[in-house]
Each structure stands twice: as structure tokens, then as C-alpha cells.
Amino acid sequence: MALPKYTEPHYRIWHYFYLLICGCVFFFLIAPLFVIFPLSFNAEEFLVFSDGMKRLDPDAFSLRWYKDMIYGTKNPWGLAARNSFIIAIFATLGSIILGTLAALGLSSRHMPYKGLIMAILISPMIVPLIISGVAIFFFMAKVGLAATHLGIILAHIILGTPFVVITVTATLSGFDHSITRAASSLGSSPYNTFMKITLPLILPGVISGGLFAFVTSFDEVVVVLFLAGLDNTTIPIQMWTGLREQLSPTILAVATCLIILSVLILLTAELLRRRSERLRGINR
């Protein structure tokens, strides 16, 4: 945003000052992520930039922490990654199914007690995680699901559904219901109407809600801390333990992989958002 030529000097100075502040804030937001990247290639065990790294000496860089992450003896990351993916995938599927159904019901204009039910459905997002953790732990312990995969998956479905409900309800808010009526009048069964008309139209919302649910589950540590036993350790749990005990460069290698994963998720979410807006005819 170039300033017009007639701008007064003090306003000009203020404007550049404002840009400087913005630059600093953006730096503050994004820079910490880039510290991890080079340090994970450190040849040494310390979490500081060695002199060799500052000189860009190739010997100062190595892949040893990545090797350690994958092949290291007694390393927990393989099991943790497997658990994390299994739990996150099933939790996402559960959240998508329950959340989409609920969103379809909620956006019907016949729905009674809409406000109250919406409040209940999104409450896991509002209640602090630590309280959800305590409550869910009590429940899972009572029904004997503590320290099982199923227990953690159910817990993550609880935490993930609000995101699906919100994104799908938002997608449905621009939904033209006369299309489904048209389909019905042409003889389509309700199931066919849903599969062929409604679902393709709300799919971007469903998937982006699913992405939120996936990330919530994949990144969740508070509830799992209460629920997990030794067999259901997840990546966040391992990172948490590692960060508490000793900050090793292997953790940074894992962190780098997670950042790459989040870049992929960000790209997907962004593409979906644009597609959804195009489908719903919203132009910015």
C-alpha cells in the first residue's frame, strides 16, 4: 500500500512505524518455528547453534537425530506415531459422522431448542481442557476404558465434534434447500438425495471440520495424559515427556516432521476454504 504523494511527513513517518510494528509481530509469530528446523540438523547434542553451524560448515550438520528418531534403540517414536495415527484417524471418522448428522439436524428450521442443543454440542470446545480431561477420565475409569485405544478415541471424538458441527453448520447456512426439494420432486429417495446432492455440496465443510478434528486429536495431550497407559503413548505424550525430562535434538527432528505435516494441513484447509466459497458463491 503505497502512500499518495500528498501525504504529510509526520503521517508518513507514522505509517512506516506502523509497518515496522506489523513486521515485528509477524516475525514474533513465525520466527520461533524456524529455529527448530536448522537445529534439528545439528551434528552435536546441544540445542544451540554451534560455531560450525554459524560458519555453515557442512560437517556441523547431520541427519543423526533423524536416524535416531527412526532407528534409535528403545525409541518410542515408532509406536507413538502408529498410535497417534490410529487414534486420530478413528477419532476423525467418528467426529465427522456424528458431527455432520448433528449439523444437518441443527440447520433444519424445524429443530426444537436449537440454542440449548448447540450450546451442549460445542461445550467441549469452551470448557478448559483440564476439566474435560478430569471428567472424561472419571467416565472412562468407571466403564473400564482407561488406558485403552477405544477410550482415547472416544475422548477425542468428544473434543473433535464441535469443530465439525461448526464448520458444517456454517457450510449449510448458505445451502439452498430448494435443490433437495427439487431432487425429491423428481423422485429421488432421501438417501439418494443426501448422497448425490447434499453431501457433495457440504463436502468441503465436512472435510475442513474433519481436518480440525484430526489436528485436535493428533495434537491433544492433556486428556491423553490422564487416559493413556504405557501401550497407548502418542507423539504428543512422548514430546511432553521428552520436554519435561531432557530436551534432546531427536525431539526437534520429530518437531520438524510435525511442522511439515502442519504445512500440508494448512494448504489443504486453505484450498478447501476457497473451493467451498466458490461453491457457495461467496466472493470476497
Binding site: 429443530m111 472419571f138 468428544i158 490422564f226
Partner: protein, 417 residues
């Protein structure tokens, strides 16, 4: 003309009004059936357990269940003088069973909370009661220890008679109900919870303030820049938003450590001496810095979505009518962004007040918050009823804030991404 003909009938011969009502009802049930699975699931696995936390937090059946006969006998005792023989006898019988089952230790600990020094008195009774003869238990018990003659000890037992207690809530704010049943504060050196509550609110408030001060300019920039630049800059906001919380906390641990980059930078600029590097982690500073960066996207996104809808011509109009840029900003632009400010601030505040992971990792002793205390009691001391009580106190606060949020912004206006 009969009144019947006035009604319009459907092809089936049913009045239209009724038929519509039926259809409406059907639709209602259909809509509700779609919501029902999730609603039931959440009620069973989430809402009821939260309610369960409440019953757990006020539950005090332990002592009541251990001394059933005693409390029955005590019903008629007014507590002014020493209880009658029946109470002594009942207590002896109850206690004998406890000693036999090796659960007397629990009772000793519990009653010691009520009256200091009760433990040793009870331990002595446990040893001596084996030699008791039948009849006249009052004399025999009082012979074991002279404190049994003190009515205070019997009153202490009686105080635990109700199977419900609010003592955990009092403990959460560093109070307790003393021997006379009055609610008083604990001694000054033991008031730890109140400090934590104040610190939690303080950290949440300042993190919200810092987030607001930092998010406002960049949200404004993002909303006013041409699309192709703002999309690029938006990545700076969205990438941290999608990145694992632990990854971001880890990067702050690296940055803020004593040999870390931030300290290196301070030394390089000459702000601090190399041998006098300040401690920036494991205290409140670490909590503030890390939490602000982690929660910043939650402030930027609502602000951005509101600012995006404000037409730039409004500012131009203000200026063309003679306002200086500053006046135009504060009189025109700023009031229009208030919904976004409200949403962002309350969102960040609610998230910050229940934060657990980051304070636990970078907070040290002086930077931990109330949620860390809850987790500590859940995992270490196993005082689950106290953890539940504190959790519910926190929840009440959050719900109050959420209620305000709902009044100001509306739940439906929460925007993600």
C-alpha cells in the same frame, strides 16, 4: 352451510391444518433424530461425568460409612457435654471392626484433619482395645487416654456426620471451617491457592492484553492489503495456528534458555553482560511470552474477519469531512471493530485461563497456573475430590465469561480459520 365445509381438506380427506401439523411434527422428530446420536453421546460421556465431578467434590461418605453405629447413637447427643455410654459403646464396636479390617489408618488421618492430635489418641486406642472387657465402655475408653474426656474430640467426630461437605471448596480458596463451625482463613504461610487464582487471572488478562495490542495492527494490515500480499502474510498467522502446541512450546524453550538465541542477542547488543544472562524461562516471563505467541492467532482471526467487512470508503469519508487520520480512526474505524475485539479477547481469555501445557513446561514454580494445580492433585496426591472442586470453580468462572461472550457476540459467530 355447515362449519365443516369452511375447512380446506387434503386429498385424503383430512383437514389441511391437521395434516400440516402432522408434517411439522414429523420434520421436528426427523431433525431431532439426526442430532440425537451426538447429543446422547455427549450427555453420557461428557455432561454426566462433569456432573459426577460435582458429587465427587462434595462427597464425604468415607467417615460416615466407617462409623455407622456411632453416628446412629450420636443422633440424640446435643454435643454440650460428654456423650452417653451408648455412643462410647457404638464407637468401640465400629472402631474394633476398622482395626480388624486394617482400615483404621484412614479414619485416623481423616479425623486428624478435624482435630489436631486425634491420630495419636486413636492409635493408642487401637492398641489397647483388644484387652477391653464387656460393658462400661465409657470408663474403659477414657482410661486409655485422658483426651477422650475432652468433649472437643467427640464434637470433631460429630462434625463429620453429614455425608456431604463443602470443605473442598473452602480449601480451594484457602479457608476452612474451624472447630466452632466458623469459616476462617488458613494461616498465612499456607495460603497457596489464592495466589494461584490471582496469578491465573492476571496471566490470562495480560496475555489477552498483549495479544490484542499485537493482533490489532496486523489484522488491520491483513484486511487492508491487496489480496495477493495478504494471502502470503496470512500464512504467518495460520501456520502457527495449525502447528502442534508442543512444537511451539519446544521452540520457545530453545529460544529462551540461558544459552539461547534471545539471550545471545541481548549479549550481542550489549544489553546484558555475558556472565549475567537473565533467566527467561521457568518463570512468569516464559509463560507470558510463550502463551502470547501461541494464542495470538486466536485474536488475529476474529479481528481480521470483522475488519474485512469494514469498507475503506468510511475512513475516506471521515477524512474528507475534515477529520485527521487519528480522529477518523478512533471515531469511525475503531468502534466498528469492537465486535471483533470482544470475540478475540474473550476467546483468548477463556483459552488462557485454563491453560495447562505451556505453563507446566516453561512456567517453573512461579509461572504455574490453577490448571497445573488440578493436574497435580489428579496425578500426584490423588485427592480427586479436591481436583474436582477446583475444576468446577474454574468451570464456573469460564461459563460466566462465556455467558458474557454469548450476550456480546453470539455463539454462532465463532469463526474458524
Amino acid at each position: 352451510m355447515s362449519s365443516e365445509t369452511g375447512k380446506i381438506l387434503t386429498t385424503d380427506g383430512i383437514p389441511l391444518e391437521e395434516s400440516l401439523k402432522q408434517a411439522e411434527k414429523k420434520n421436528k422428530i426427523k431433525a431431532f433424530l439426526l442430532v440425537a446420536p451426538l447429543l446422547l453421546f455427549l450427555i453420557i460421556t461428557y455432561m454426566i461425568p462433569i456432573g459426577d465431578m460435582f458429587s465427587r467434590s462434595i462427597d464425604d461418605k468415607m467417615v460416615t460409612n466407617m462409623l455407622p453405629k456411632t453416628y446412629k447413637a450420636m443422633e440424640n447427643w446435643d454435643g454440650k457435654e460428654l456423650p452417653p455410654e451408648e455412643v462410647f459403646e457404638a464407637f468401640y464396636l465400629d472402631y474394633k471392626i476398622l482395626v480388624k479390617n486394617k482400615t483404621a489408618g484412614k479414619l485416623q488421618t481423616q479425623l486428624n484433619y478435624e482435630k489436631n492430635g486425634f491420630k495419636s489418641v486413636l492409635k493408642k486406642l487401637a492398641r489397647k482395645q483388644k484387652k477391653f472387657e464387656e460393658g462400661n465402655y465409657k470408663e474403659q475408653i477414657m482410661k486409655v487416654h485422658k483426651r477422650w474426656r475432652n468433649v472437643e474430640y467427640w464434637r470433631a467426630i460429630k462434625r463429620r456426620a453429614p455425608s456431604y461437605t463443602y470443605s473442598k471448596y473452602l480449601k480451594g480458596v484457602d479457608m476452612y471451617s474451624n472447630e466452632d463451625g466458623k469459616i476462617v482463613q488458613v494461616s498465612e504461610d499456607r495460603r497457596i491457592h489464592r495466589i494461584l487464582w490471582i496469578r491465573t487471572v492476571e496471566v490470562a488478562f495480560f496475555v489477552t492484553l498483549f495479544c490484542f495490542l499485537m493482533a490489532y495492527p496486523i489484522a488491520h494490515l491483513l484486511a487492508t492489503l491487496p489480496m495477493k500480499y495478504s494471502n502470503l502474510l496470512m500464512i504467518c498467522v495460520l501456520l502457527p495456528f495449525w502447528t502442534s502446541l508442543l512444537v511451539r512450546t519446544a521452540s520457545w524453550m530453545i529460544l529462551l534458555q540461558q544459552q539461547g538465541i534471545v539471550n545471545d542477542f541481548f549479549v550481542w547488543t550489549g544489553l546484558v553482560a555475558d556472565d549475567n544472562r537473565p533467566e527467561m524461562m521457568y518463570n512468569k516471563t516464559g509463560t507470558y511470552v510463550a502463551m502470547t505467541q501461541i494464542l495470538l492467532p486466536f485474536m488475529v482471526l476474529p479481528l481480521y474477519s470483522v475488519m474485512k467487512t469494514i469498507s475503506p470508503s468510511l475512513m475516506r469519508a471521515g477524512k474528507s469531512l475534515g477529520a485527521t487520520p487519528a480522529v477518523a480512526f478512533f471515531k469511525v474505524y475503531f468502534p466498528l471493530t469492537i465486535p471483533g475485539i470482544g470475540a478475540g479477547c474473550l476467546l483468548v481469555f477463556i483459552l488462557a485461563i485454563g491453560y495447562y501445557i505451556t505453563p507446566a513446561l516453561v512456567g517453573g514454580a512461579s509461572g504455574t497456573l490453577i490448571s497445573n494445580q488440578i493436574a497435580y492433585h489428579m496425578k500426584s496426591t490423588l485427592d480427586w475430590s479436591f481436583a474436582s472442586a477446583m475444576g468446577l470453580m474454574l468451570l464456573t468462572g469460564v461459563l460466566a465469561i462465556y455467558w458474557i461472550y454469548n450476550k456480546l457476540v453470539g455463539v454462532d459467530n465463532i469463526k474458524l480459520g
